[in-house]
Amino acid sequence: MKEFVLLFRQPSYDYSEVSPKEMQALAQKWKDWVGNISSQGKLADNGIRLSLEGKVLKPGGVITDGPFVEIKERLGSFIVIKADNIEEATTLAHGCPALDAGGSVEIRPVFG
């Protein structure tokens, strides 16, 4: 088995729609998705969480607030999974709640 990192990105969200019920449903979706991977014994690491705020250093000492000022999709966080090949890893990425919000999941193999 090889390891793959799943990076999820989410577009900006319509905050005026956020409701208690929706939050409950959303947390459940994340849990179900990770839980499903984990129950197959394929979760290697549930990663670290990144704060959405930070800075970006660019050439010439230019520092901007970011990282998501210039990009439409902000990088959320990531998990590390185990799979036989990238096809299987991609299959496991299905159901990631970031997709429901119009975001994406990037699947990247980890070098041994």
């Binding site: 019920k21 939050m23 409950q24 849990k31 549930n46 704060s51 959405l52 607030d65 966080s77």
Partner: protein
Amino acid sequence: MEMKEENVLKDLFQREFSKMVAVISKLYGLQHIEIAEDIVSETFLVAAETWGVKGMPENPTAWLYVVAKQKTLYHFRRNKIFDEKVVPALPRDPENHGNTTIPDFSEGNIRDSQLQMLFAVCNPAITSEAQMGLALRILCGFGIDEIAEAFLSKKDTINKRLFRAKDKLRTANIKMEFPPEHEIIPRLDNVLHIIYLLFNEGYYSRTQNHILRKDLCLEAMRLGIMLSEYEKTNLPKTNALIALMCFHASRFDARQSEGNNFILYKHQNPELWDKTLIKQGMRFLELSARGEEISSYHLEAKIACWHCYREDTAEKWEDILQLYDSLLKLNYSPVVALNRIYALYKAEGERAALEEAEGLNMEGSHFYYVLLGELYKNMNREKARASLKKAYALAGTPPEKEEIQKQINGL
């Protein structure tokens, strides 16, 4: 166990959303209320993702406060709103410079901010419908779809209403602060009225969503209790309003049937009445018996209190009749007049009631004809039938029609 954890997030949202929005709005000004809402909403989105993947932190509330604090500072700094607009407007506090610009999520500050937000939102500068909408969103953490359902309106309508209301808060330069001493009473009157309307919206709402209705009532009660915990707003009429809500809420479960229909008072099983809420109501009713003023909340609370005793006694109905008389003098409304006639019927019989009922001009109301049907029942069956048939034609909902049909069949 799993289910429980998810409910924790929903409950946390309902409880903490309003606290955090109030604290952040208090710090940076009510004109930035939408930014405060966005920051808090995003905090919850991150919580949903993070807790879903990593599990709940040990102290979820503290986690939320830390993340919201970071986001707030970051946002206002990044957009220079902070330096250019917020800082010059902040009150100068020489002993505490630097610290006043970080959201303070201490218990005391949360309480003060929420109370001040309540006064800001319940401001007559905006329509009472908009005040209710804002209160539900900003003070009770309801989603737009839930507010729309409660008011039987479209989401779009609610969004526009809230947008205009927030705009008005800005242009009217409404501030988050306690009203000055001499204004507390009239301002509190308006706040109490909005809480009363919110409760009624939940109690009599036409939406079929039982849980939503109950949530509305509970939130109205929570806001009332919040006012009673602050010395300057803990007035007799505040307690009277809370008592009134407790008595009505005590029958919430007893009046709900399996099929989502309402069970009429006379058919309810008193065993299902919530004894704890009735006791709470009695306590607040006692607390309301101070001072000189007898508000409409006092009178309504006493009437509602009588209805917690099932037995019909002469004393009960005579007292209720007097309470309705006083209520009508305070502010006349056709619905109260109609209820008074029912009390008159119970206290003095159908003849006295009929005489007054005929003077009432309520030909558009099915309640009026239901009452006439009841009054004629033992005197003139044909008139009773004719009245109930009119009531049937006017009734708006199937459960009401069903109940009226039952009465026609029972004649």
